[in-house]
């Protein structure tokens, strides 16, 4: 899909705005009271990051991630939540960029989404280990990882369909 510079800018702006809305909506979904583990969320904003990387490019995707992380922290978060967010987001972005470069033919956005949400959990858990100076937090991964398969599948399927809509309309 080749887009004119104006369409690229518009699509990038749209994705950034949508990522912020998604991050806000997620704070309203009480997923943590159903699954009582710190940091469990659907990861809806990752839909936007994935679409950014796959339809606009790796650099644009990174810009989106940074804009989303910084703005979310300022609007709805705390300095602590920013650190967790950037560790999870950063690690999952590394995979996202590599998958775009090397695995686009072998894997759909569903697989990419599952892997990036698992890595997001791993990144956040490692951040907790570093912040508290105790590797005991790795225990959370035994629930966070299987949950990431479910949340990753949901957001991945959403990304596939939104990507198709974007291809038709842009």
């Amino acid at each position: 899909m080749t887009l004119s510079p104006a369409k690229r800018a518009a699509f990038g702006g749209l994705l950034t705005a949508a990522a912020l809305i998604f991050s806000y909506v997620e704070t309203l979904i009480p997923l943590q009271s159903i699954i009582p583990i710190a940091g469990v969320k659907l990861g809806l904003a990752n839909i936007c990051i994935m679409l950014g990387v796959y339809y606009l490019g790796i650099t644009e995707g990174l810009g989106l991630l940074l804009a989303k992380t910084v703005l979310t922290a300022i609007l709805f978060g705390t300095p602590v939540s920013f650190v967790y967010s950037i560790c999870g987001g950063g690690l999952s972005f590394v995979f996202l960029a590599l998958s775009k470069r090397f695995l686009e033919k072998k894997m759909s956005l569903v697989g990419v989404s599952i892997a990036s949400s698992a890595l997001h959990s791993i990144g956040q858990t490692l951040a907790a280990c570093l912040m508290f100076g105790d590797i005991a937090f790795l225990i959370f991964l035994e629930w966070l990882l299987p949950i990431s398969v479910i949340t990753g599948t949901i957001t991945g399927i959403a990304a596939v369909f939104l990507g198709r809509i974007a291809e038709e309309r842009l």
Binding site: V110, G111, D134, A136, I139, L145
Partner: protein, 122 residues
Amino acid sequence: MKIMKKGDMAVIFIVLILTAGLFGFRLFGRIAGECVLISVDGSESTYRLSEDRSVLLESEDGKCTVVIEDGKVFVKHSDCPEKSCMNMGKISKKGEVIACAPLKIYVKITGNGGGGYDAVAG
């Protein structure tokens, strides 16, 4: 309409294998703990799991009440906005953790006191 590709299955497989590994690893170490380690902003104190008590913790960002009761530990109240520490329920097995990230507090079950128990009053 086919969405999934082979690579997707590989990802799911790898994540589930990792999960199984973590569960398996714990299955063998899943023994009842003896002590409770409470860390508030880096300063640690240890209590016996067998002695019922309530500990009021104060960090820069708020207060939190940890209760040891019937060999189990839970967070009874916390000033943090998320309350996920309260939702985590009761823990009693070695290696289990309850964390309250906003208050920089965490509670961990340990196998032993690691050289004597602190007599820190709660």
